[in-house]
Assembly symmetry: C2
Homo-oligomer: 422 residues x 2
């Protein structure tokens, strides 16, 4: 395309042709009709590869408190944007690469290696990059770990996700709810001697962080069955803090909260647990198939895995998960403090000792103000603060990628809102 016909300069932003130029733009006029010279220069032009309407990186970003898919680190997005059309001189997008080609293999191998460094994953654990979300794992776990439908498994249910995991397991084994927080509206985690485990349970399942209710395990129970294992759904606090992987048989997580886009599910599984899937297990739910094929049995979600890799790289650059946890603790503290110091104007129902560093649910003493709160926050570009439809109120999800400044702005808004409605 002829550069001179499709390009121009406005202010200090690269403009794409079909973008409607502001007629009053000084620099636009400045460049097409320079007032300071009699000899008309060649029109200055920029060729932009894109022929679509956009202004790269110019529009203000919102402060995104979504529970997932959620905010991603800006530098990761910008890196992905810069590489999207042509990944590191390969001549193609990551989305166009054969999953068996050397380019993508380098991407998935680095992603696994960086994740192993982040979580100090022992060598007797496999890392799998799968599809289908945690919901698919709800079936994969009993199908791979229970030899028959009569095998017992224990579930601690601290919220909606633990409950969903239990219900799906009923199809494939003999699961028991050994503790449920439902009667207390999922605001607690039990003391580990506060529930009775089945000494024959193949595994003890927990949801390490309940996204909807904002309840997070700060420590982990030990299976009563010496041959049993602890399994954790870490979808919403994965890579938000260091974890002793050796305490678990399986850790699984959907990527779309802390480490990437939706469409990637990460499974960290102790190798001796692999290879025992029941015959009825769909091949895509058999850990052995994916382990033997290094997650490449069929075409994996390549671009999503690439994005996770960029995030892992960024987390390591930040100083690893100890530093990430410090940042998350600081963000959560100023938000919970603002709630607790509001004299009851804002309220968080969750027991203090198990409040999530990731998902902060809160309500207003005067519930009739909640709609106004959410609407006014949105005006200040703070979005996705509405609580889950099943619990109402508000919820601020403040995952790894939420900057401290975003939480500070929310807290300032809360205080100002309270002052106006005191």
């Amino acid at each position: 395309m002829a550069a001179s016909t499709n390009s121009f300069l406005v202010g200090n932003q690269t403009q794409i042709p079909s973008f409607k130029p502001k007629p009053t733009s000084q620099s636009f006029l400045h460049l097409t009709k320079p007032p300071f010279t009699s000899t008309r220069p060649k029109p200055v032009s920029i060729r932009c590869a894109s022929t679509t309407t956009t202004t790269i990186g110019s529009d203000p970003r919102v402060i995104n408190f979504a529970a997932g898919p959620a905010a991603l680190p800006e530098n990761v997005l910008l890196k992905a944007q810069s590489e999207l059309y042509n990944w590191r001189g390969s001549g193609m997008s990551v989305m166009e690469m054969s999953h068996r080609g050397k380019e993508f293999l380098s991407i998935i191998q680095k992603a696994e290696s960086d994740l192993r460094n982040l979580l100090a994953i022992p060598s007797d654990y496999s890392v799998l990059f799968l599809q289908g979300g945690a919901t698919t794992q709800f079936a994969s776990l009993p199908l791979n770990l229970c030899a028959s439908s009569s095998d017992p498994a224990d579930y601690v249910v601290t919220g909606s996700w633990g409950d969903k995991a239990f219900k799906e397991a009923q199809k494939y084994c003999n699961p028991s709810v050994v503790w449920s927080g439902k009667s207390e509206k999922y605001t607690k985690v039990p003391s580990f001697d506060g529930f009775e485990q089945n000494p024959h349970a193949k595994y003890l399942h927990i949801c390490a962080n309940e996204t909807i209710h904002g309840v997070e395990f700060k420590d982990y129970p030990v299976p009563k069955n010496p041959n049993g294992v602890l399994i954790a759904d870490m979808s919403s606090n994965f890579c938000s803090k260091p974890v002793d992987v050796s305490k678990f048989g399986v850790i699984y997580a959907g990527a779309q909260k802390n480490v990437g886009p939706s469409g990637v599910t990460i499974v960290i599984i102790r190798k001796d647990l692999i290879g025992k899937a029941r015959e009825v297990t769909p091949v895509m739910l058999d850990y052995k198939i994916h382990d033997e094929n290094s997650s490449l049995y069929n075409t994996p979600p390549c671009f999503g895995i690439y994005m996770c890799g960029l995030v892992f790289d960024d987390l390591l650059a930040q100083g690893g998960l100890e530093e990430v946890e410090r940042k998350n603790q600081r963000k959560a503290k100023i938000l919970y403090d603002a709630i607790d110091e509001s004299g009851g104007f804002f309220r968080c129902p969750v027991e203090k000792s198990v409040r999530s560093l990731m998902n902060v649910p809160f309500t207003l003493e005067r519930a009739e103000l909640e709609g106004e709160f959410i609407k006014e926050a949105a005006k200040e570009k703070m979005v996705q603060l509405k609580g889950h439809r099943s619990v109402g109120g508000m919820r601020a999800s403040i995952y790894n990628a939420m900057p401290l400044a975003g939480v500070e702005k929310l807290v300032a808004f809360m205080k100002e809102f309270q002052a106006r409605h005191a």
Copy 2:
């Protein structure tokens, strides 16, 4: 970041700061030291969001003959790149959007609507955007369409994928291979009266295009059972030509050949077939769950669905699937002609009447030259021409996004290579 410090103009390309500018660039000097004026103007600057090393759309792209993930339309990639950091002024990337928010809902609804237009999908069919690839569907189909493990189903096996579908079905129903091309190395499609169907089969399954062997159905068999349905895996020729959807009970396809990146599986299913999943079916493999929730039961692969939507939009803009088919026929013809007119120097084993418009496998009469052919083609930026490890030789996958010029360049190279080795 201060625009003046991180931005400049080189030639007619938008440069990102850390890219090393060509010191001789005229227009760069032109802008910083305009020769045509005595009064020094403010330095013209472009702010680019990215702080990484790249030149958007400048590096040469390869001609990508990969079988999938495969080439995507350049304008689609550029559109995605331009929107990646901030989708249409929403203040967030598509990867950061809540899948239940109005922004993503508009994306998935337009994608479905455009796909319905492209394929003229009747209103009594549902369109589902799922995960797990065609391989997951190999299990979903018998689990949803067969009431018991004894229910019969017929499979026509014209290549590796049809065979994989049959093998997975053995776990969940009583499938029969009613015809197999294995003994003839998968180079044929049977005449439809050339095999015996089970009159009680719940469905007749075909793989409409075998990616590895380059065998494509040009017409479709009718199930002998009046209550049975035809099911087609269209992963590698989906949206490459018009299809009469009403002839099928289910059409399914991984997106990563013709319509998007890997990680999205599209299922088009007649509504009366939904709601009959066996109790043992994992919830994520139950069509009813996804249909009732408009593919939003759990978090879908949002960015992949967005990319598919951009491709559907592009296919409509090209004039729809009739026009797309014309282009694909023209591309395939010049490549097959080059093979057939090479006097046996190049050979395609597939029976002419069923040669794929998408995947063109070929060998060299002198097999010892194949390595050299592939290496020299790569030097001319034609990549991924190696045949599948299971069949050897070469394979050129020329999906919708492969431009005619790419095939013309390959054909010119083939003739030049033959001349040198005659």
